[in-house]
Symmetry: C2
Subunit: 80 residues, 2 copies
């Protein structure tokens, strides 16, 4: 099964990289851009038959390695 | 309008970071993980009224700044 783990900063956590990209877009002439949020995602192929097992594994991976629980949140989606 | 720009490496381009994460997952005991693909995404808020204008802007941003056309591909999705 393939699970997608999408990781993003918690609301209120500053993202200097996103701010830099936003400034660069303005400098390139994209004046209509009002905000930009960066997201990381992992598409993980897991050799489990039952969706609930794959999702449980993905949740454990996110908690232990893929996301930083102090500053990030994540969501899981079954892709296939 | 909010457009999501999802950027990933073209097939065949090596991703050493993803390989390292995959090894780390195995080391943590997630032996059922067979593959891991990393994706970057940008959620861009664009002050355009028509969806086709927002998407055209997002395409230009991806071409000029958000993606590296030599090694990456991207897809656009209207979020709202």
């Amino acid at each position: 099964m393939k699970v997608r783990v999408e990781v993003r900063l918690k609301p209120g956590v500053l993202d200097p990289a996103a701010a830099t990209i936003l400034r660069s877009l303005h400098r390139l002439g994209f004046d209509d851009v009002q905000d930009l949020v960066q997201v990381r995602a992992f598409e993980v192929d897991i050799a489990k038959v039952r969706p609930e097992d794959a999702l449980a594994d993905a949740r454990a991976m996110a908690d232990q390695l893929l996301a930083n629980p102090v500053i990030e949140t994540y969501r899981l989606d079954l892709v296939e």
